[in-house]
Amino acid sequence: MTETLARSVIEPQNPRLNASRNANLPHVPGIRIGDYIFLSGMVPVDPETGERFHGPIGEQVRMTLGNMRHMLESAGTSLARVVRIHVVLADIADMAEMDRVYREFFPVDPPARTAWSMQLRFGNGCEIECLALAG
């Protein structure tokens, strides 16, 4: 039997974190399908100003995961419900520093993760995407 799951759009309560809308891009911050929430990749954006943040990688990771927390909470769920995460770094040498900050956000029973490096746009040091379960 094929289930037909309900599909809806996830948006952040903080409009400065709605990159899809702000930059008029053909995506949405996230999609809820049934009880799964797929988020678009997130980059370091200052939640106070909506501007890109280009500080040290640790701070970029902290900002990105903080924004991810906000996005998931706006959707009625939380970081604790993330099941899979993809962390992409512009520089593979940043793995250790990324891990150090990452641990703060997933201290217990962290999600399944794959982390690697690729060319990123706009000087971003990291881009992080996740799949979470609804709250």
Binding site: L5, R7, L25, H27, I33, G41, V88, M118
Partner: protein, 130 residues
């Protein structure tokens, strides 16, 4: 719970037969359809269709439309896309063509700058709702 294998809706989309890639075109499970990375391949002949990023993207979206519709889904039911482009310099080009296919409510997306096989400029890795 079982997984359903979605067969290639057209002979050219059987990458296993044409290229020996050990993969099914898509798998349905738990209300979701997980598609193998879609490439610019002629859906009838299975030949590679290299071109500009725009041309390759049109071919890929056409193939995804065929595949998803054969599985009872559609491009409108996409929930997540990984758009793999060979270089981020063509990000705007990607958006211009991509936009045409997701006008009725785009899915979540992450753009990855990654190498795809055969030097293709773009590959789309998607999940849709069944």
């Amino acid at each position: 719970m079982m997984r359903d294998v979605i067969a290639a809706p057209r002979p050219g989309l059987d990458f296993r037969r044409h290229y020996g890639h050990h993969q099914s075109p898509a798998i349905r499970a738990g209300g979701l359809i997980f598609c193998s990375g879609m490439l610019p391949i002629d859906p009838d002949t299975g030949e590679r269709r290299h071109g500009t990023l725009t041309e390759e993207a049109h071919c890929i979206f056409g193939n995804l439309k065929l595949l998803l519709e054969s599985a009872g889904s559609s491009l409108d039911r996409l929930v997540q896309v990984h758009a793999l482009i060979y270089d981020s310099i063509e990000y705007d080009v990607l958006n211009r063509v991509y936009r045409q296919y997701v006008a009725n409510g785009p899915p979540a997306r992450t753009v990855w700058t990654a190498q795809s096989e055969a030097g293709f400029k773009i590959q789309l890795d998607v999940v849709a709702a069944a």
